[in-house]
């Protein structure tokens, strides 16, 4: 960022097209960073205002007022109160919805009183004639004493006017308050407040007192004086109410002269659509059908690119192996790094498709209706109407699901949702369930038509949902997290989704996953590779050992290679690790080989099948499940002489995989979203304990 760049803060109510304007101004020149010391993502982008002038635009979270009620919103206040020359904005760009101008001007009037140069962009003006609205622009500019631009961000109209207004506003650099609340409410009280510090405007000081938010630039003496004002909290609250009423009175006066709505011209589709989408029968029916469609697409559409990615990375690994000289580095590349990257990339189709749907639902305004329908039900379990979306998406993958909790403003409700999402049966559990069910559940019909294996799978999905809801309820009753919760959801107008906004949203979320969780998956894949391909003396002499001991048994070359591989695995570091945890997992019915699979599938659950395949000397690239199944099926438990994978062991393993938090990627994302190691660690150990105890009970009862 160069010194001459204008720092612009973009502020507006939710659903005013703020994101559209940001996208139009910056294009893909966006990056997501962190606010220093605050746990909310900061979205910034560079915009070319003119040939010689650039601007750095910060997209602040959508808010109805600068008095915050959520962590997101408190960012707005903190940014605006900063006096630090590096961080405080030079110009504020307020976006307002033309149809809801009165309410949008409340936020504008507050910002104007901070005495920072401000540009008002009135958006969606293409809707004006349809809604019967007319505006006297020059009079409005005069009354508001600021630059006002009419734009239509989705249609890319008026964007240049915004850029020019920002430059003009920056050059003029003078700003005066709009409302001057002091004399209308209690002149003495506010005069005393103003005397505290000459460096801040009266309204800034008022905000510090009411919002308990003191910038670094305020001295401790001044702060003490401000704290005195907090003593009479009833008065404070009353004045805040009065302030808001006063602001609305002033806005009404201005709008009366400049803004006319001819209601007879307004055509409203909203009420008809609302009647359908929030209907007590059709509303739910539509929602369920929609879920099934989303569900289906995540599995169907994503499977084609996922298979392709899988095959492509196998090809790349083979190609690299064939074309590079043999050695540790090549092994690291072909067995550690390439499959590691593949393991990240393979999730992209599911994540992208899921976010595509969520972005469309949000853009159209339908999401608010779902929240409205579900709030009462979800509230009983300590969650929020908005929690339903993450819980459903969790059946594809917990990672995007946890990212989707950001829309929940109450921290406690959001945290509970994040903590219980991993209970839902994600797609990585499917291969594990599939092979275990095939091994231990007989393929027969119940009641003549229901497939028993299918029923067990369905039961596992039900177990996932039931435990998520139950866990939420327990957390709701026990979790002592303070968070101001106040539920109000705006029901925006229905709109056709903007392709540009949807596309940017999908790109941003996918990027966040690849670079956030991806790093950790990759790192741990390399660690696992190292542990599986190194070992002590016996590991290094595996070839010699196998050739000496099995030379006379008439084994084919392939069989000898498999034997070597299995001896190597047994004596690799990870094999030794598996053996060392055997005493712990024995009460669950597992041996050290299953132990290895448990450890390796900590990285990702689906690794379980591949690991067992390797352990039971099946060629690693042989994807023919019947072979793996046959090998697993013929594995004998030496202590009992019976099959290793009998009914109790199979059930115990399925229960273990239903609960255990075996997914580094999810832990990484929980860490990222909660900005602390505390919650992922609680999740990891809590769920491990739950998995252990449940599997123990399952195995002991069944055997």
């Amino acid at each position: 960022m160069s010194k001459n760049d204008i720092k612009v803060a973009l502020i507006g109510n939710p659903n005013t097209g703020k994101t559209s304007l940001f996208n139009q101004l910056t294009g893909l020149n966006q990056k997501v960073g962190n606010y220093p010391g605050i746990t909310v993502d900061k979205k910034e982008g560079k915009s070319k205002l003119s040939e010689t002038q650039n601007a750095i635009i910060t997209d602040l979270p959508g808010t109805y007022s600068i008095n915050p009620t959520s962590i997101d919103e408190s960012i707005v206040l903190k940014t605006l109160l900063k006096k630090d020359i590096k961080e405080s904005p030079d110009v504020i760009l307020v976006v307002a919805d033309v149809e809801n101008l009165k309410r949008n001007l409340l936020l504008f009037s507050q910002i104007k009183d901070l005495e920072i140069p401000t540009v008002l962009a009135i958006n969606m003006v293409d809707q004006m004639s349809r809604k019967g609205i007319s505006i006297d622009l020059s009079l409005l500019k005069e009354e508001l004493n600021t630059e006002v631009v009419l734009i239509s961000a989705r249609k890319n109209e008026g964007i240049n006017d915004v850029k020019e207004a920002i430059i003009r506003c920056h050059v003029a650099a003078k700003a005066s308050p709009l409302c001057g609340i002091n004399h209308q409410i209690d002149p003495d009280y506010f005069d005393k407040l103003k005397e505290i510090s000459p460096n801040f405007s009266m309204y800034e000081l008022w905000l510090m007192v009411t919002q308990n938010n003191y910038p670094e630039e305020i001295s401790s003496e001044e702060k003490q004086k401000l704290l005195d004002f907090k003593k009479d909290i009833t008065k404070l609250k009353k004045y805040q109410h009065k302030e808001t009423i006063y602001r609305y009175q002033e806005i009404n006066k201005i709008l009366k002269k400049t803004y006319i709505v001819d209601k007879s011209k307004a055509k409203d589709l909203r009420s008809k659509l609302d009647r359908f989408f929030t209907h007590k029968v059709f509303g739910y029916v539509f929602f369920v059908i929609l879920l099934l469609v989303i569900f289906q697409s995540i599995f169907d559409w994503a499977s084609i690119p996922m298979d392709f990615i899988d095959a492509m990375f196998a090809e790349i690994a083979d190609f690299t192996k064939d074309n590079l000289p043999e050695g540790v580095l090549t092994d690291l590349l072909t067995e550690g790094i390439i499959p590691g990257i593949g393991g990240v990339i393979i999730f992209i189709p599911q994540i992208a498709i899921l976010f595509l749907f969520i972005a469309i639902l949000e853009e159209t305004g339908y999401m608010s209706r779902v929240v409205f329908l579900m709030d009462k039900i979800m509230r009983r379990f300590g969650m929020n109407g908005k929690s339903i979306i993450p819980l459903i998406s969790g059946t594809a993958c917990a990672i995007p699901a946890i990212m989707a909790t950001r829309t929940i403003s109450s921290w406690k409700e959001r945290l509970i949702t994040i903590l219980v999402t991993p209970f839902t049966t994600c797609s990585a559990r499917l291969p594990v369930y599939a092979i275990l069910i095939a091994l231990v559940i007989p393929d027969k019909k119940v009641f003549g038509f229901l497939n028993l294996q299918g029923l067990v799978l369905l039961a596992l999905y039900a177990l996932g949902f039931a435990s998520a809801v139950l866990a939420a309820y327990i957390l709701h009753k026990t979790l002592d997290v303070k968070s101001k919760s106040f539920f109000v959801v705006e029901m925006p107008n229905y709109k056709l989704p903007s392709i540009k906004n949807v596309f940017y949203e999908v790109v941003e979320k996918t990027k966040a996953f690849v670079f956030g969780a991806g790093k950790i998956i990759l790192a741990l894949s390399i660690v696992l590779w190292f542990l599986a391909s190194n070992g002590g003396e016996k590991y290094n002499n595996a070839e010699k050992y196998v050739t000496e001991n099995f030379v006379n048994q008439g084994l084919s070359d392939d069989e000898i290679q498999q034997k070597i591989a299995s001896v190597k695995l047994e004596n690799s570091y990870i094999g030794v690790l598996g053996k060392s945890i055997e005493p712990v997992i024995k009460p669950l019915g597992y041996d050290w080989k299953i132990g290895i699979a448990l450890i390796t599938s900590f990285a990702a659950r689906e690794v379980f099948v591949g690991t067992l395949a390797t352990i039971y000397s099946v060629e690693a690239d042989d994807e023919d499940t019947t072979t793996i199944k046959q090998k697993m099926s013929s594995e004998i438990n030496p202590e009992t002489g019976n099959k290793r994978f009998n009914f109790p062991v199979g059930m115990s393993l399925m229960v273990f995989y239903a609960f255990a938090m075996q997914c580094m990627a999810t832990l990484a994302i929980v860490k990222r979203e909660t900005k602390s190691w505390k919650w992922p660690l609680i999740q990891l150990f809590g769920l491990a304990l739950l998995a252990y105890v449940s599997s123990f009970i399952t195995y002991q009862i069944l055997s």
Partner: protein, 76 residues
Amino acid sequence: MSTIATLQKGEIGYISEESLDFIPLKLLEMGCLPGAEVQLVQIAPLKDPLYICVNGSHLAIRKETASQIKILKVSL
């Protein structure tokens, strides 16, 4: 006593001046002002939340909040 929560679906009322202190600041800022016309647009299938239209804002609020906001009904 009439509150937003006692309105019938589609019914209109005016927020009374005396409930000023009971309206959460956030709602006030979103346009839920004393004297404003408020219409109950829709009731969620489980009787909660309520979907209201006030001062051009379409909002869903929980019944708990709605029952604190007194209104005067229009007699037709």
